[in-house]
């Protein structure tokens, strides 16, 4: 089974990379891009029966830094 973890900077934490991407899109002529936030996706191959609570622990202990990042988990 698989789990997919999305890690994003929390709202309110400046994302300089997202800002740079936004400016680059503007420079390419794409109008109307009002904001860009850049995060990461981590795919986990898990043994059958691994529960979401375990993945939550993985996020809390390692995959996200909850001082500045939030995460969401997609199971299956």
């Amino acid at each position: 089974m698989k789990a997919r973890v999305h890690v994003m900077l929390k709202n309110g934490v400046l994302d300089p990379q997202g800002e740079a991407v936004k400016h680059a899109l503007g420079a390419l002529g794409f109008g109307g891009v009002e904001g860009v936030r850049q995060g990461k996706v981590i795919e986990l191959d898990l043994a059958e029966g691994t529960d979401e609570a375990t993945v939550t622990q993985m996020c809390e202990k390692l995959l996200a830094n909850t001082v500045i990042e939030s995460y969401t988990i997609e199971m299956g």
């Binding site: 934490v13 400046l14 300089p16 740079a20 202990k61 995959l63 001082v67 500045i68």
Partner: protein, 222 residues
Amino acid sequence: MKAAVIVFPGSNCDRDLKVALERAGADVTMVWHKDTELPRGIDLVAVPGGFSFGDYLRCGAIAANSPICRSLVAHVERGGFALGICNGFQVLTETGLLPGALRRNENLKYICKPVGLRVEACETAYLAGYAAGQEITVPIAHHDGNYYVDDAKLAQLQGEGRIAFTYLDNPNGSVADIAGVVSRNRRVLGMMPHPERMAEPAHGGTDGKAMFDGLMSQMALA
């Protein structure tokens, strides 16, 4: 004083830090990240700069979960001293021993240059060699030195006098110009600038040397 310098794969300031500590009079042991125990009788654990584990996942995140860091946390919980410089600061925030986190520099650039710092009115052995308000020049060399704490934590750090160094001209976007902070018990210091790279005349200045000498003088009294 007995000090241990932790070496991770990708550490690159470990030997400079060893030399700076030795010149201040410390007896220094290098400790590999896979070791599970610190040598006996260590007073100070120093976490050096570099790019531990290639900065994979987040700067300092993998290192903070290495076997030796469990010993580091136990050492600090026993009241031991710990110093994290640059990547070492990132590691100490990732272990939770220091508050906050280091984000990508605001201008997205790796910045390597001497910067002006103000020594803040912060009661800690690490600053014994400086006067509060003193301005010093120490190099920075980082891509992820943009210090973040939320407003509540910032107010707490300011209220408790736990900001050790601030930038005179903020190079990286750090909240409140913060370049270094100490733990609540004032025995853990994390800082992005490199005092070990400004520790002898050949480095172009000795403003960093006072930190090691000051710390050593305080430890000798203890």
